[in-house]
């Protein structure tokens, strides 16, 4: 591989790892916020258990979202300084907003939510998780604004060999953005819902004593997944109206077409199962044990689809960094050597890859132990939420 392929591989590996955690964050954040709202309103211990249990899954997942995100942010300057040189005046604005307006607040409010348990007044504590959700979605929006500019450089002109921002509104109403952002939101909800379904199926299959807890979680998951897959599919097809000519018709980008094809095939099949089988069966699904192994096996699929979707979008953009303006070769940092990228690629892949595996093992362990002895919201060493069995 030459240095350009190595640098692209580095971005693809870290970006894919990042999105695996982001997509679940986007799905779980609103669900945890809704569970917390129910708990704040009813004071029902079952709702407290659900908030703490799914909240713990959410924050452990979030940890890897942060650390992979750090690497993403700095990678622009490390390996792609040609991009900031040529289009930083345009591309930098949404990125700056993502970090300053969205992520800065998201991280601050998340710290308040995690460590404010039993310390903040009830409604202030609840406000924190809603603010985390809101800023997480704002974050996703600004990242999609930046990415859509690369797909379709609206709102800017080339002057003096560099791109200049002329119309910020055009950045926000970019045809590559308006359907892609809801598509990503739908994918997030679909993923979050399917994780609730898969984890609940696993626990019910194991004859957990917390049947009511996981039956409710499974139904919440089915409804969320149904909404998510519907939104993702609708806005997925809507995107074809605004796609650049030749994006998937070229031999050069065969992987993009393959990614797109598989995503559509698997996505449609899953949508049929979720909307026409799981949703009508929603009330009996927790009791029908024969379905549970199938539901468990379906859990990883939304993650696979997310990566296929990004493959279609990003490989489809090749060889352009900014569509028909700047090529990836020209966007690469001048002077970047194979040795430099190989070293950092090995370092990032090894460290982030191992941490990702550890993170998934920890999430699996939280799920297997069920809603007892949770760390999140524990206020004394032997603190356990009340058994949810009796509710």
């Amino acid at each position: 591989m030459d240095v350009l392929d190595l640098a692209r591989t580095q971005f693809a590996v870290t970006g894919s790892l990042h999105f695996l955690f982001v997509v679940l964050t986007l799905g779980l954040a609103p669900l945890v916020a809704i569970m917390h709202t129910k708990w704040a309103r009813s004071g029902n211990p079952l709702h407290e258990s659900m908030t703490r249990f799914w909240g713990q899954v959410y924050v452990i997942n979030y940890a890897l979202g942060i650390v992979t995100g750090l690497v993403m942010e700095f990678q622009f300057g490390l390996a792609w300084s040609g991009l900031s040189h040529y289009a930083g005046d345009v591309f930098g604005a949404p990125l700056a907003m993502e970090t300053l307006v969205a992520f800065f607040l998201e991280s601050t409010f998340l710290g308040l939510w995690i460590f404010g348990w039993g310390r903040l007044p009830k409604w202030a504590h609840l406000a924190c998780i809603w603010l985390v959700t809101l800023t997480a979605y704002a974050s996703a929006f600004y990242i999609m604004v930046a990415n859509s500019f690369l797909q379709n450089p609206a709102g800017a002109v080339v002057s003096g060999g560099r791109m200049q921002l002329t119309d910020f509104g055009a950045l926000l109403t970019n045809k590559a953005l308006v359907f892609a952002f809801p598509h990503v939101v739908g994918a997030g909800l679909f993923t979050g819902g399917m994780v609730l379904v898969g984890a609940s199926a696993y626990m019910l299959r194991r004859r957990t004593p917390d049947t009511e807890f996981f039956a409710r979680s499974m139904r919440t998951g089915v409804v969320t997944a149904a909404i998510g897959v519907f939104v993702a599919m609708g806005f997925g097809y809507a995107q074809f109206a605004g796609i650049q000519a030749g994006k998937f018709g070229d031999d050069r980008n065969i992987l993009a077409a393959v990614g797109l094809g598989f995503m559509i095939e698997i996505g449609q099949l899953l949508a049929l199962v979720v909307l026409l089988v799981m949703l009508p069966m929603i009330s009996s699904l927790p009791r029908r044990r024969w379905t549970h192994p199938i539901l468990i096996l379906m859990t990883p699929l939304p993650f696979v689809l997310s990566i296929l979707g990004w493959m279609a979008r990003e490989i489809g953009r090749q060889p352009w960094m900014i569509w028909e303006r700047l090529s990836v070769a020209d966007a690469m940092s001048p002077g970047l050597t194979s040795g430099m990228v190989t070293t950092s690629l090995i370092g990032f892949t090894a460290v982030l890859g191992l941490l990702a595996i550890v993170d998934y093992v920890l999430i699996a362990r939280v799920i297997r132990r069920g809603p007892r002895a949770l760390d999140l919201g524990a206020t004394s060493p032997d603190d356990k939420p009340a058994p949810a069995l009796s509710y």
Binding site: V67, L83, L95, A96, L100, F103, F104, S107, F348, V358
Partner: protein, 254 residues
């Protein structure tokens, strides 16, 4: 407008040193003051509610660098490629240590992640000294220079002192010191000094390379109205977790 954004950038970078400085300092002191598992738990619990609100200042620095100084962003990060990669990996390890250390109970598990926190904090602190040295020379000199390494040691010692002061403020007497709020403020200012020094030196260069007015106007319109909310959220953190009878509550999530 350039001056406002320079001030914004300077406050973010100096703020990162003043705030994340004590998180890294406590991480550095883990093997020194945290001889027992209980003590290490107390030290980490002391910084835990602040870490997420502190480390994000550097994320904001990088975002501002991209938005306001796009020409310098690539130059600075690419110019320090191996150092930035090493510092990122240290940051990742430190964070992973915090998030993972209490997820399992075995002493091997705990020891490994506590080690990751200390190692990551050390790497980041020394790295900052070296990066500041390289920045002060206009990236003409390699950060691996005796002066750069010396500055790395200085920053490490400043952060360790700042971390110790923070522990004396939040857990009075537990780690051999009792410190007042004003003393914590002084140690924060001292910890920020190396960054402030470089910022003052780099001011003309930064002003010269600011993004054009069209970009700055958009950023100002979209970001500056949120500055009071960002500040308010930070104040909320400090008010919620101020020292008191149960300031360091165990078990803490980190």
């Amino acid at each position: 407008m350039e001056v406002i954004w320079f001030a914004f950038f300077a406050v973010l970078l100096a703020g990162y040193f003043a705030l994340e400085g004590f998180d890294l300092g406590v991480g550095l002191l883990l093997p020194v003051l945290g001889r027992t598992r209980d003590n290490r738990d107390r030290m980490v619990a002391a910084i835990a509610p602040y870490v997420l609100a502190n480390e994000v200042w550097l994320v904001a620095v990088a975002g501002t660098l991209f938005g306001v100084y796009p020409l310098l962003e690539g130059e600075v990060l690419f110019g320090l490629y191996p150092l930035v990669v090493a510092m990122l990996l240290c940051w990742v390890l430190r964070d992973a240590g915090l998030w993972f250390r209490r997820r399992l109970d075995g002493s091997l598990w705990r020891g490994f992640w506590d080690g990751a926190i200390a190692f990551g904090s050390l790497g980041l602190s020394v790295g900052w000294g070296m990066a500041l040295y390289a920045a002060a020379t206009g990236f003409a000199s390699s950060p691996v220079h005796p002066v750069g390494l010396m500055l790395g040691v200085v920053v490490t010692l400043l952060f360790a002192f700042h971390g110790w002061t923070f522990l004396g403020w939040r857990t009075p007497g537990v780690f051999g010191a009792t410190r007042s709020g004003p003393m914590l403020l002084v140690s924060a200012l001292v910890a920020a000094l190396p960054a402030v020094g470089v910022l003052v030196g780099a001011m003309p260069y930064l002003l010269e390379n600011t993004a054009p007015p069209a970009t700055l106007n958009v950023l100002s319109l979209m970001v500056l109205p949120f500055a009071p909310i960002m500040l308010g959220a930070q104040v909320w953190v400090w008010r919620t977790f101020r020292p008191g009878k149960d300031a360091v509550r165990l078990p803490s999530f980190f």
